[in-house]
Amino acid sequence: MTEPLLSMNALSVRSGETVLVNATDLEVAAGERVGLIGESGSGKSLTSLAVTGLLPESLRASGSVRLAGVETVGADEQVLRPLRGPVAGVVFQEPLTALDPLMRVGRQIAEPIRRHLGLRGSVLDRAVSDALAEVRLDEQRFARAYPHELSGGQRQRVAIAIALAARPRLLIADEPTTALDVTVQSEVLDLLDRLVAERDMGLLFVSHDLAVVARMTDRVLVLQHGAVVEEGAVREMLRAPQHPYTAQLVAHARVLDAALDGASGPEGAR
């Protein structure tokens, strides 16, 4: 059997004496979609940052994270750099801060394409328009725009285009729609869904929102206080949650769903 795209073995993250992530195991096979759910502070974002070796310097990681067969815990930049982009791309929560405010969007997308695919000149320009078109930002003006000239949803599309620019095999999405309003959320999720399917990428989707995770992934890990409390197929978990915390999440989602069903008019889902 080939090695999974991402395999995490007893990963722990500590800040001094405090354990933030405790012995987490996680695997994502090529083309598989895995969700990581938990409330804020449960260590889910740290877990996803640890994959590409981007933990803040004040935190210590131990255990093992293998990304496409390469150990990333304790690895130095030279080892990590070739992995970032072609192997794993990351979409962050807050699209405004994840984009350089002083650089035109087109250049920010061009950067990883130039570096990883080695394109130059007009070929590069075309690749940038293609990348923008892929995230449904077709108009020419978008490449020339600065981040503050775009809406939240447009910015997150740009961030997705950047994350996908080097054609990663694994997309890590850390709360990619939390900062967006609901209708835009849905568009961005559709877009991610389509792109992940088209490119047959692995997906590690981090969120506190069970409904979103259920929509995007097949398998879910539930994190609480830095530890995995339940793991399994999304359907199973929704039907019969084992851990009280999971049950609580599911119950909350149900209540919300019911309220929405009652409140929503004939507009419905498309």
């Binding site: 970032r84 807050e94 990883p112 080097a166």
Partner: protein, 273 residues
């Protein structure tokens, strides 16, 4: 850029332009040579001597024009030294391991606490007073301030998500410095450096006042002020003229800085204030 902002830039450019023009003209033409003392002592402004003469009978306008050259050289020279040194130190501190950053920060604090004049005297103690050593001293002293500002700006940018995002997509440290850190530091740095330009001109004036600046007969504005001190009540123009010249240059540079920031920073363009 809004009309008001570009008006600031234009006003600044005009003020600085006046001084630059004076300096340029002084290179090819002066009303009187600097050692020409034929004007009579402390004569009032007249057709022959537009700003009158000093207590040795030298033409004040001629001295003021040469002073413009010196002021600009001091400003540009020391700001260049401060910028190169300060930005480099700031970037290194921001990107280095925490203990090294702490060490550099402590060093910067000490350097800032060290008065510019003392630094200048130390340097002058090693070599005779000259314009060059004044520029070097002012530049070195100011580089500490620039280093501190750069370090803070760079640290803020390094911790920002767009830099993390750039690292996630595999950008090297040098690429991050060039594409993300420096551009994001530029708007604030431009203002800092322009303010330092003004401060450098004033610092040179103080150094000249103490006899540590440009040696005579090259009259810096600071020395003109010093020389006019004794006669300020009888011939006030001798103090007023270089004083106004200093204000024009420093104010002009500050205006340019203000306007520049808006021109450099696209997020401020088109913003109404």
């Amino acid at each position: 850029m809004s009309a008001r902002r570009s008006a600031t830039l234009v006003a600044g450019l005009v003020l600085v332009g006046i001084v630059v023009l004076m300096a340029l003209v002084s290179l090819v033409w002066l009303p009187y040579s600097l050692d020409d003392t034929t004007g009579g002592r402390l004569s009032a402004p007249s057709a022959e001597h537009l700003l009158g003469t000093d207590k040795l009978g030298r033409d004040l306008l001629s001295q003021l024009m040469v002073g413009a050259r010196i002021a600009l050289m001091v400003g540009a020279g020391s700001v260049a030294i401060a910028a190169v040194l300060g930005i480099a130190i700031g970037l290194i501190a921001a990107l280095a391991a925490p203990w090294f950053d702490d060490a550099i920060s402590a060093f910067i604090d000490v350097a800032i606490a060290f008065p510019v004049l003392l630094t200048a005297m130390l340097i002058v103690a090693l070599q005779p007073p000259s314009l060059g050593s004044a520029i070097l001293a002012i530049g070195l002293a100011m580089s500490a301030i620039v280093a501190r500002v750069s370090r803070i700006l760079a640290k803020r940018a390094v911790g920002s998500q767009y830099v993390i995002a750039a690292r996630t997509s595999g950008t090297r440290t040098l690429g991050i410095i060039r594409r993300h850190l420096l551009p994001n530091m530029a708007p604030t740095l431009a203002v800092t450096l322009a303010l330092q330009f003004g401060a450098a001109v004033l610092a040179e004036a103080s150094l000249s006042y103490l006899g540590l600046g440009a040696p005579p007969p090259n009259a810096s504005w600071g020395r003109l002020l010093q020389e006019a001190q004794g006669t300020v009540l009888t011939a006030p123009i001798g103090a007023i003229a270089p004083g106004i010249a200093l204000v024009v240059l420093v104010l002009g540079v500050n205006f340019v800085a203000d306007g520049l920031r808006d021109a450099v920073d696209p997020t401020r363009r088109g913003r109404r204030s």
